[in-house]
């Protein structure tokens, strides 16, 4: 239920801001790899507006899952991570735009058997990320970088599939 409310909220925000001529929206695929653990792939979306902090910050949404990554053809644990982000770009007039990003959200895992019911299967996410964004073709942008999870899991107080560091690559299509 919480996931549905969350998605409705995000969709509503996009719909409200899309009426605004200064509103920029882009979406695409995100490929995330924890160093020493799984590939988790999914979608990324990003938007900014003059009406929202005068374009100084962009906002993002990432939804990735190991079901589209390591667990696609393997016996890996299915995981889902949903994050909201605040992004600050530098050198916005140049071809290579460095950025810093603060992500927060939650992660869940499906262990698939009743015997694992007492293992922690969820965790809050809080990470800082940095990297570079560049336009690679007309409306397509490549975002690449790495991040540090400030909350990583030990398996009992937090979900054990959340590792401290990751790198990511996103291919984004500029819609508006």
């Amino acid at each position: 239920m919480r996931k549905v409310v969350f998605l409705v909220f995000v969709t509503s925000c996009i719909s409200v801001f899309s009426q605004d001529s200064t509103f920029n929206f882009s979406t695409g695929a995100r490929f995330k790899k924890y160093i020493g653990f799984y590939w988790q792939n999914g979608i990324a979306a990003e938007f900014n507006s003059d009406k929202l902090l005068k374009n100084k910050l962009s906002f993002g949404l990432n939804v990735v899952s190991s079901t589209l990554g390591t667990a696609l053809i393997n016996n890996a644990i299915p995981t889902l991570e949903i994050e909201l982000s605040a992004i600050k770009y530098f050198r916005t007039e140049k071809k290579l735009k460095p950025f810093v990003r603060l992500n927060t959200g939650f992660a869940v895992a499906n262990f698939g058997d009743d015997r694992f019911d007492n293992i922690n299967n969820k965790s809050a996410l809080l990470s800082i990320e940095t990297g570079i964004k560049t336009k690679i073709y007309k409306s397509i942008e490549l975002v690449t970088g790495g991040g540090l999870n400030l909350i990583s899991g030990n398996g009992f107080s937090n979900l054990g599939t959340v590792y401290p560091t990751y790198f990511q690559l996103s291919l984004i299509y500029i819609i508006q």
Partner: protein, 311 residues
């Protein structure tokens, strides 16, 4: 901003490339890491290894179940002494307690050993017992001993014709401390990590863990995790049971999930698995712990008896 980034990066590369490791402040009178204390099995192998204590087994001995016990990372044969004593008391099965390669000696031996070196005494003892004619051999591993056993079976390093059971106690496939995944970067900077030990554990575990050994642990667990993801089918007639504590500061409980999903019996059915409501890493070892509760003792006894009855 870029200048600062490259400065930090250069500093990390410089520190990572430095040749000299820091030497830990080993107290040889107390620590296993020094050159005064060694594992007892190096001096009295016949008290630990069946191949050394019984070089010409009778036909009764050959058919009596043998349990090869394999300890974990930085530990010694001490981890399985209680099982050995339990077996002697019950007299229904025999044990052979292995000392992993690079373990039980000094810091430099530990630092210089690869995980393949750790594994080789397991294979050696199994092959010796098989050659002596033992017909009913099983493995029991704790912590890092578990991926070493699983890897040996998966890679065909042993002939499994006389192998019957594999018992895994608190197996480590995913470490609880996720910083292990950064050992290649952080390791050369820190050189070693110190582990907190109770006074009853002094001299039986390495106090200082060189980053080279942690790197080997990381390689082993990563390698076994990937094998589990692809799927491991046990040889015909070999059973496996996993016992995993729910709260464990060394082996993440998801290690049990990965083993359950990744290992199948030869007939395609699932392995046996039991989650244990305890927060002790290697709950079957109680000796040397600062405090032991009645339920810890009951748990140890019930698991030892269950293992005895299934052999």
């Amino acid at each position: 901003m870029f200048k600062l980034f490259f400065l930090i990066l250069s500093l990390i590369v410089f520190i990572s490339c430095k040749k000299e490791d820091k030497t830990p402040p080993i107290n040889s009178a107390v620590d296993l890491d020094g050159n005064l204390i060694n594992d007892s099995s190096l001096v009295y192998p016949n008290h630990f290894l069946l191949s050394a204590s019984n070089v010409s087994p009778s036909s009764i001995d050959k058919n009596k179940p043998v349990l090869i016990a394999v300890h974990g990372f930085s530990a010694t044969t001490f981890e399985w002494i209680e099982l050995r004593d339990f077996a002697r008391l019950n007299n229904s099965f025999q044990t052979s307690v292995i000392l992993l390669g690079g373990h039980g000696r000094d810091y430099d031996d530990f630092k210089n050993a690869s995980w393949e070196n750790w594994q080789s005494p397991i294979i050696e003892e199994y092959n010796k017992l098989r050659k002596l004619g033992y017909t009913n051999i099983s493995f029991i591993g704790s912590s890092t001993g578990c991926p070493l056993i699983v890897e040996a079976i998966y890679s065909g390093k042993i002939n499994t014709d006389v192998l019957k059971h594999v018992f895994l106690i608190d197996p480590i496939v995913v470490p609880s401390n996720k910083l292990l995944s950064l050992v290649n970067v952080v390791g050369p900077i820190l050189s070693y990590s110190e582990s907190a030990m109770a006074s009853g554990e002094n001299g039986f575990w390495y106090r200082y863990r060189p980053y080279q050994a942690l790197k080997q642990l990381n390689e082993l667990t990563q390698s076994v995790r990937k094998k589990l993801e692809k799927g491991i089918t046990l040889p015909v007639n070999v059973n496996m049971k996993v016992y995993k504590t729910e709260k464990d500061d060394a082996a993440d409980p998801i290690s049990a999930v990965l083993l359950f999903k990744g290992v199948k019996l030869a007939n395609g059915s699932s392995i046996d698995l039991q989650m244990i409501p305890s927060n002790l890493h290697v709950f079957t070892r109680l000796k040397g712990r600062p405090s032991v509760t009645t339920s810890d003792l009951q748990l140890q006894s019930s698991v030892f008896n269950e293992i005895k009855n299934s052999l």
